[in-house]
Symmetry: none
Subunit: 163 residues, 2 copies
DNA sequence: CCAAATCCCACGAAAACCCATTGTATCCCT
DNA sequence: AGGGATACAATGGGTTTTCGTGGGATTTGG
């Protein structure tokens, strides 16, 4: 599987009082080139304290990928349990939200909680998907490469935030 | 993987007040022969104080390579972290910029900072990719062969710059 | 009937677009 | 071979469009 439209780049946008955020235009471009929808799928990232996001068309691909991973893993009695867990995580634990004509979504409260988002949202392209971070959490995570933190700091400076 | 169209040659172009630079025509030719896009991908060079640039098609190749690597690896928790770190560096730390009908890009402020670019940009073809330098930094780097510095000096003289 | 979500409009800054000029290399004709 | 015409590359500047964002109005659902 080789997707031709990849999410890349970074941006720092505000979460306003109503809980709205603009999805950066360059990410929306990829979403709309992959499929015709103007919606994104949100989920908790399993490895990091941030959200993962992608387009609905990719959700199916992502599921297939998890399946393949599962087949390589254990084939014992608990594999059925693992299968169920993965499906639950892949579908029940996600939310699909449309963005409006100006490219904004309303972050669902549960996702805002799961992603620990405050008033700034850092968008990071990761190829097939993209991530949404609370920039403070990214700066505090020791698994994040320094170069990436530099990007976060740059985006914060750009915006005039003290740091 | 053997690309048939390679980046080669050198040129020195101006960065204007708006932050725009012309991509040399001979490099654009390669980009458009590799794919149909009129965009380039910019990233910080890991070894030298300059930028590295390539076409989106080449970015997709790099992505495919990462994916194959990931599928071969163990399916553990810490492998997922490594996978994400690689994807973050490959995509979040890069920016894709289109060039207009006259072949110019707007250098993103972050890249201008990372590449330490001032008002002159030296383009150097390196085969699969090309580099963009602040010529002063290249002349001051003791890891750069003298012959290459001569090229930089020649380009500077050509332009009438004192040096 | 109230709260929350959606829609709508407005604004400032930045980016994309368009046109015009200059210089240089190329071609063609005599 | 010279000389003029031509095409394209690089660059400057002005104009239009888009993007992110705030705030109000309207609709929806419990």
């Amino acid at each position: 599987m080789a997707l031709e439209h990849l999410f890349q780049g970074s941006a720092l946008n505000a979460v306003d009082a109503k809980g709205r955020v603009s999805i950066p235009a360059f990410l929306r471009g990829v979403i709309e080139r992959r499929g015709a929808t103007r919606t994104i799928v949100l989920a908790k990232n399993e490895a990091f304290p941030c959200l993962i996001a992608y387009d609905p068309a990719y959700a199916a691909l992502r599921h297939a990928k998890l399946e393949r991973l599962a087949e390589k893993e254990e084939t014992g009695a608990d594999s059925a349990v693992g299968y169920q867990q993965r499906n639950l995580m892949a579908f029940a634990a996600t939310e699909e939200v449309p963005y409006d004509s100006s490219g904004r979504i309303l972050v669902p409260p549960m996702m805002r909680l799961k992603g620990e988002l405050a008033d700034l949202a850092l968008f990071l392209g990761t190829g097939e998907t993209f991530q949404i971070w609370n920039p403070e959490l990214l700066l505090g995570d020791d698994r994040i490469p320094e170069d990436l933190k530099d990007i976060a700091r740059f985006r914060l400076n750009e915006r005039g935030a003290a740091r």
